[in-house]
Amino acid sequence: MPQKLKEVDVAVIGVGFAGSILAKELAASGLKVVGLERGDSRHSVPDFQAPAIHDELKYSIRKGMMQDVTREAMTFRNHHREVALPMRQWEAFLPGTGLGGCGVHWNGQAWRYQEADFIYKTHIEKRYGKKILDPDLRIQDWGVTYQELEPYYDRFEHLLGVCGKAGNLNGKIVSGGNPLEAPRSREYPNPPMKEQYSGALFRKAALELGYHPFLQPSANTTRPYTNPEGLTLNPCVYCGFCERYGCEHFAKASPQTVILPVLMKNPNFELRTESQVLRINLDCTGKKATGVSYMDAQGREFEQPASLVLLTAFALNDVRMLLLSGIGKPYDPTTETGVVGRNYAYQTQSYVPTFLGEDVHLNSYMAGGASGTVIDDFSVDNFDHSSLGFIGGCYVLCGSTGARPVEFHPTPPGTPRWGRKWKAAVRRHYNHTAIFNLSGTSTSMRGNHLDLDPTYRDAWGLPLLRITFDFPDNDVRMSRFVTHKASEIARRMGAKIVVDSPRTGPFTTTSYQSTHNTGGAVIGADPSTSVVNRYCQSWDVPNVFVVGACNYPQNSSYNPTGTLGALIYWTADALKTRYLKRPGPLV
């Protein structure tokens, strides 16, 4: 018999960036908040200290910080006519776990989206007409605009101490930054990262070709910085162990460094780790959440009553939780009815391995997670697609986030996979190879969706999430075009060998691409095509709010976390100024 606990005002499912910030805002407003985190507690000291943290096998190869796949995997298929099978180990994407969530082991690449992203359907149809869209694509407007979110982007960036140089201040283009960015109301809190050698070479070539290079915005600080919560971060030392690792220097913006110490001090907040939430409980009407049920590490089940439930467990887990809890109608791609699981998208990554001369010592192992020189000229709709026959685009980045050798030992095409020649090629090219990283839009498609697997279960007996996904042909065409453009820059850099490597289908789970899984619980103005309204409030159960990249109707060219930060503070504001004053549907 599950033990019923004393009621609280708010139950937060998942204590990552979204959970931490929302919990802090609400606890500070006087509410009693419980944060339920399925993973362990962990902190910069001792858990992220060097040299132990710089263990490539443990963290990069064996995925030391990631969701325990033995207990909670996901299944995958490219198309609905296939049988989905479990991803028995994580490769293509790496869902995190533990206090701080992905915020602990992300790279700190902190972007905003474009204005057009939030009104994507309207914008594309207006500019190009509906005919540019392949019949199976399903792009949507968000129901909230960039301008509405701008102050919240600003707030999140100052919480993190994002490092960069503004390119567009209130509509005025200023030099030194990205002239193609959406307008920002003030300068970044900290100056940009130091430029790597590969980035400097790219910058020169990009300028010669008429593009507009700038340094990638970074949430790994460039100088001692005290954020508005009173917490101080240290400068990044470019150690080259960023993604998949915790930061030993208090330099990477993570919940641990930017907010948790403040949250933990508030007696209104209680953190419970190793607490696996099984479902959100609903009353007999199915329209009101009564709280959540969870299991602790000893296998005891608890019922935690709460007036308000915040689902902030990472995009994929959020969608699964909604499905397990019966909140919202599950999406059926054949009939195109239902909403939960609809508009699942990803990130269309491609690469241009660029082999430079052996006199060019790149030292790519010297890197911050957000190191890199970028051009935005081919992102989203920053260029004219009229005669191109696809929508979307990529930013093109040259730089490294490290050169850890188990993962990074590039060899030119034609090199055997093993043997004497392979070894010689690895030695020859290791310190002289740059890899362009192209991060592309991912357009939602009718058939790409999330639902519950009929066969495979987790350690608690609950169905795994099933992912049905392949790259839309639109995105494959887009990738071919932009990657080709990127290759021209590589050749201009004086590379000996340039490998134009666009993304092609089918999507495979066997090699890493990105953990930017988006959609499935999308935000929108129309309840027939969205799961949450513009305040991230469930249309079906108004005392449940879902905040994650699951809200995105399609994915932009950029990494999602910066935009998620804006949504988090936007939702916090809606909760404090609207919902708490009058609980109920806000739209």
Partner: protein, 220 residues
């Protein structure tokens, strides 16, 4: 007399090591270094050996740092910082100003190449030493300070090329004072700013004592 003989041996072996190379300019630079260390320059640089010794071990009091085996990049950079005032030190500024670029590089290389026999350390209470080791190797969450060794290397051995100075074997008193210098702004460092501000007095002493006693690898 004995000291002079020892000094002479040190200088001679340094020169022998240098002039073993065929490069005449290195040899000239070594001789220049030896001269400056022993005599100073006519432009206001006092002989380095007066405070730092011919072997770089200084006088053992901790008032002057050990220089032997230190990163040459670091030594040269500090001299330039003294000269410009970026590192405020009334004693070292006129000395550093009295050296030109070549001379700075030369004396830096000179001391970097030496390996002095350290003065014996005074005993440290076990509790203090353990605390120092804890902060040095693991850091302190309550004051948001990372492990010193994450930048200063195992045993505080330093990283000569990027110019991270060694702490292992450095005088405890000197380390303590330098942390004060960082805290009060007489020395400026992006990386030392937070640790210098956040460590309390007791912990500063603890890490300083710990590092003085940490064994350091022999310099090649």
């Amino acid at each position: 007399m004995f000291v002079l003989v020892v000094a002479g041996i040190i200088v001679a072996s340094y020169l022998a090591a240098q002039t073993g190379t065929p490069n005449k300019s290195i040899s000239n630079k070594s001789q220049m270094a030896v001269r400056i260390v022993a005599e100073g320059t006519t432009r206001g640089a006092v002989a380095c050996a007066r405070c730092h010794g011919f072997d770089g071990a200084s006088d053992g009091s901790g008032a002057f740092p050990r220089l032997d085996g230190q990163s040459p990049q670091y030594l040269a950079e500090q001299l330039r910082h003294f000269a410009s005032g970026a590192r405020q030190n009334a004693l070292m500024q006129p000395i550093a100003k009295g050296l030109n670029d070549d001379e700075i590089d030369a004396v830096a290389q000179y001391y970097a190449s030496l390996h002095a026999v350290p003065f014996p350390s005074r005993p440290v209470p076990a509790q203090l030493r353990d605390r120092g080791k804890q902060v040095a190797e693991v850091g302190d969450l309550s004051v948001r300070v990372q492990a010193c060794e994450s930048c200063h290397g195992p045993n505080g051995e330093g990283e000569p090329i990027s110019g991270v100075p060694y702490l292992g074997g450095q005088y405890s008193h000197y380390i303590s004072v330098q942390i004060q210098m960082f805290r009060q702004g007489y020395r400026k460092s992006q990386q030392m700013f937070v640790p210098a501000h956040n460590l309390n007095e007791q912990d500063v002493l603890a890490v300083a004592d710990y590092f003085e006693q940490a064994s350091r690898p022999a310099v090649k």
